[in-house]
Symmetry: C2
Subunit: 411 residues, 2 copies
């Protein structure tokens, strides 16, 4: 694909742009989005009409719809990236060898990043601005259902790059809504350095299977809160409600509550009443159902399930070890919490649970680039290689070694 | 494969082993290799006889042959890993959020690492000891031609783990020489976190194409030395000879010499005479051949080629920019050097060349874990994700975020 080859070449130029050049381009993008407001909203209206005509679900149509407010938020997001520190060029470490060689490990952009995403058109400008600030070219492939919106946003992005003297090819949008374009894209490992899919589990699995390019997966979160025997029960209650109900459709929301059997009789009746009052459907193990009668039984499949909804599985465990075992077997190593007042138990949990984020006495909902203080995020990696958990600007970089000598030869 | 499932479980235990436990196991491995000397050498003799009977090349047979001295070197390598710092548990960064959450980024093992390699049986104990020290389980799959040697070494490794109280399953050797086992292995993304292939370009490409598991490639090095207009010619000569001749079969050896046209007439005749005296076959561009008559002409394909041999392509360039362009187009982003006395030129080169290692006034031959001071290396990554250049113990780890709160809820 010609746009991808162009993006590769443009990425090389962008990698060497100064912070001022990149910030000027980001400001120009914010201005271009505002100036193109009418075109973008008109394109989006056509996408929405087509989606409605095709009978897409209300929730899906809602997700792809832009309005003045959402467009305003897109502009603000781009402006916020101007304020973030430029990760490129930082010396991560430097040292001198006995032979006098001075070695510096220097942060550089990854190169060309492919983003494959669904629905929300704001991803187009969000991802483009994060890639731009980190010196990376980006190939954006949105869903067919937002093709017109993404093309309109892409046009504004390119105008802004051109106006600010950076290569407009550095932000490429795939100029077809043909779904086969994705399969083609995934073969271009000569040009694209990494694929970051953003969307549902099915999309991500399909991409990971087909791609010849390395993929950083942002897959599911089957997150747990374990209420220890030594928990402060009012804190446990607040964390449980927050982790489940504050925004249940996110990957860092709790799906399974684990409760130590020593405090289950004191804790479960009250919390389950409150969860139900918050419209949560509770499914329990046998021990839970013995304490709180009338609950549906959680099946083996429930423990593996990311509901992304107001549904919760509850299990009573005999020990901290059993909680850890459950998390290791059924969890997705995304975000898991212990509520305890016992420091030894906290340490034990933190060491044994190998998840991207392990919490002591806090809600799992904090696994997020903004909440972690990274300033922004391109997503939350559920992989172990390269980046784990929230990915900010630094996670969009790699490094090179720069070695200064005075004629050193290998013996 | 059962051994892989067992290795996964064992890796979880190993991840939490203390430094003392791991060092004791490494010492036990060194002792077991010495104690099993006769069995290992006997198994190796059978491999060698089979290889000779099958008509393998002399070079290949030489590579797979063990003797007392090579076995002694294997033992010493294992002992050396005891002395390296344990990367696991290091706090990479910690910070406090305005809401009081304390976030720590902590180094943890990658998990289970698959190593697929050719010929040299020492890779079995070298890789096992590096994975062990970094808390990782390892699945080792050597070439069919060294199957008996690797099984004998694997048996000694397992005995040592068992004797030192660590799970012996943490070092798995694939119990069949059937080549289809590799295809099966590459599908086990539920159990194996990363595949590191060690071997020729064909092996690595095949694995990268077929694997569902992320692969860190250790692919080819088409390395360049650029002799700038402002170079010290005697330093340029020494670096050229070292980078080409000191060990031509390695990936960090130079394959192409680029010379600025301003000094080509002064530099080329003498260096080409010396290269030829060192048995190097020199192929030149037209300008080179005009200065030094009688050279073979370098073809377009030559510029892309990793000879791994006493062959060198030489090109005269009109500028530093042309040198950078050539490296970007034909190189493999492995190791590239400039020889110059001009600091501005050095800076320009270092910024423009995006290779894993970029050298100023030193031989490309230093791209190596030991030479960089990493203490050891599992290989040299030519990828950009996760690890670039020499991979030591730290590159065999990932991280998790540990977050300490006091009841924080997401707003």
């Amino acid at each position: 694909m010609r746009v991808v080859q162009e993006a590769r070449a443009a990425a090389r130029t962008l990698a060497r742009a100064t912070t001022d050049q990149k910030n000027a381009a980001l400001r120009a993008i914010a201005a271009a989005l505002e100036a193109s407001r009418d075109e973008i909203l008109a394109a989006n209206r056509k996408d929405v009409e087509a989606a409605q005509a095709a009978g897409l679900s209300l929730a899906l149509v809602e997700r792809l719809t832009l309005n003045e407010q959402r467009l305003g938020e897109m502009v603000e997001s781009v402006k916020a990236v101007v304020e973030l520190p430029d990760p490129v060029g930082a010396v991560l470490r430097s040292w001198r060898r006995p032979n006098g060689l001075e070695i510096r490990k220097v942060r550089v952009p990854l190169g060309l990043i492919g983003i494959i995403y669904e629905s929300r058109p704001n991803v187009t400008s969000d991802c483009a601005s994060l890639c731009l600030k980190s010196g990376n070219g980006v190939v954006l492939r949105g869903g067919a259902e937002t093709f017109r919106s993404n093309q309109a946003i892409g046009t504004a992005l390119k105008e802004a790059l051109r106006a600010s003297g950076l290569p407009e090819g550095a932000v490429a949008t795939i100029p077809t809504s043909d779904r086969r374009a994705v399969d083609l894209l995934l073969q271009l490992d000569r040009y694209i350095d990494v694929i970051i899919p953003r969307g549902g589990e099915a999309l991500i699995q399909k991409i990971a299977e087909r791609s010849r390019i390395p993929v950083i997966k942002h897959a599911k979160g089957v997150c747990h809160v374990y209420v220890d025997e030594a928990a402060d029960l009012s804190m446990a209650e607040a964390i449980t409600l927050n982790a489940k109900c504050q925004r249940p459709a996110t990957c860092n929301a709790m799906e399974t509550l684990l409760v130590h059997e020593g405090i289950a009789p004191a804790f479960l009746p009250a919390i389950i009443t409150k969860l139900r009052a918050a419209n949560v459907e509770v499914r329990g193990c046998d021990k839970t159902r013995a304490i709180v009668p009338g609950l549906a039984k959680a099946s083996e499949q429930d423990w593996f399930t990311e509901y992304l909804d107001l549904i919760l599985s509850v299990k009573v465990v005999a020990s901290l070890d059993e909680a850890v075992e459950h998390i290791s077997r059924y969890g997705s190593a995304h975000s898991d919490a212990i509520v305890t007042s016992d420091e030894r138990h906290a340490r034990q949990f933190v060491e044994a649970v190998d998840s991207a984020a392990v919490y002591v006495n806090a809600s799992t909902r904090f696994t997020d680039g903004f909440q972690f203080g990274l300033g922004a995020e391109i997503g939350i990696s559920t992989d172990r290689l390269h980046a784990r958990g929230p990915m900010g600007l630094e996670e969009l970089t790699t490094y090179k070694y720069v070695v200064y000598g005075s004629g050193q030869l290998r013996q």
